[in-house]
């Protein structure tokens, strides 16, 4: 069983990396990009029957720093 964990900076937290990507896109001539926020995707290959609460625990204890980041879990087949 696969799960995808999306980790994003909380709204309002400054994202210098996103800003740099934004500038680079503008430099390439892409107009109309209002903002860029960068995050992470972590793919987990899990034993069948792993509970949602276990994945949430993984996020809180290691995968995300909840001081500055949010996480969202998507379970696959």
């Amino acid at each position: 069983m696969k799960a995808h964990v999306f980790i994003t900076l909380k709204p309002g937290v400054l994202d210098p990396q996103g800003k740099a990507i934004h500038h680079a896109l503008e430099g390439l001539g892409f107009s109309g990009v209002n903002d860029v926020r960068a995050g992470k995707l972590i793919e987990l290959d899990l034993a069948d029957g792993t509970k949602d609460s276990d994945i949430e625990d993984m996020c809180r204890k290691l995968l995300a720093n909840t001081v500055i980041e949010n996480f969202r879990i998507e379970r696959g087949a």
Partner: protein, 221 residues
């Protein structure tokens, strides 16, 4: 004073910190590897050095904060043993939760590496008794993720409780309220981005960092 320096794969200021501790205390620290599970008996000071522990994987300090030896460091800190985290060590301490907030990518994106002026905000901590409150000192800085952030309530509490030990005299990396170093609620854990161990002998140009270790030696020993 019996000191210990924690060494992670990717630490690169561990020897500088060891030299500083040996010069000031007259005794070489125990170098404790990340896989160890115990600190030497009677350790009365723990240093977490700068560097790029575990290659900064996931987030700076994140992997180190979950390493076996850091469990022992957290136990020791909760018993009141003084812990100093410098640079990556500060990042490790915030990741453990021993210190509040987080250290994010520098606001200007650039790696910052130069001596900077700091204001000593509180000279009453275990670590800052060698300084005068309000004094300006000059300490080298070298980091990419030194932008200290916490929510407003946490920042207000840090200020009110005198837990901001050092503040940048000028804007350096985007840190909230120009915070360069903070102590925990109990006052025995200090995290700071600048490197006091790089300013301990005249050959370093300045010796402002030495007084941190001397002050500590006086209060602890």
């Amino acid at each position: 004073m019996k000191t210990a320096v924690i060494v992670f794969p990717g630490s690169n200021c561990d020897r500088d910190l060891a030299v500083a501790l040996e010069q000031v205390t007259g005794r070489a620290p125990a170098m404790v590897w990340h896989r160890d599970t115990e600190l030497p008996d009677g350790t009365d000071f723990i240093g977490i050095p700068g560097g790029f522990s575990y290659g900064d994987y996931l987030r700076s300090g994140a992997m180190a904060a979950r390493s076996p030896i850091v469990r022992a460091v957290i136990d020791a800190a909760s018993r009141g043993v003084p812990v100093l985290g410098v640079c990556n060590g500060f990042q490790v301490l915030t990741e453990t939760g021993l210190l509040p907030g987080a250290l994010m990518r520098n606001a200007g994106i650039s790696f910052v590496s130069r001596p900077v002026e700091l204001t000593v905000e509180n000279s009453q901590t275990l670590f800052t008794s060698g300084y005068e409150a309000g004094e300006t000192i000059r300490i080298p800085l070298a980091h990419h993720d030194g932008n200290y952030q916490a929510d407003e309530a946490t920042l207000d509490r840090l200020e009110q409780d005198g837990r901001v030990a050092f503040r940048y005299a000028e804007e350096v990396n985007g840190s909230a309220r120009r915070i360069a170093g903070i102590v925990n609620d109990a006052g025995n854990v200090l995290g700071m981005m600048p490197h006091p161990e790089r300013a301990i002998e005249p050959a370093h140009g300045r010796t402002d960092g030495r007084r941190l270790f001397e002050g500590l030696l006086e209060t602890v020993a």
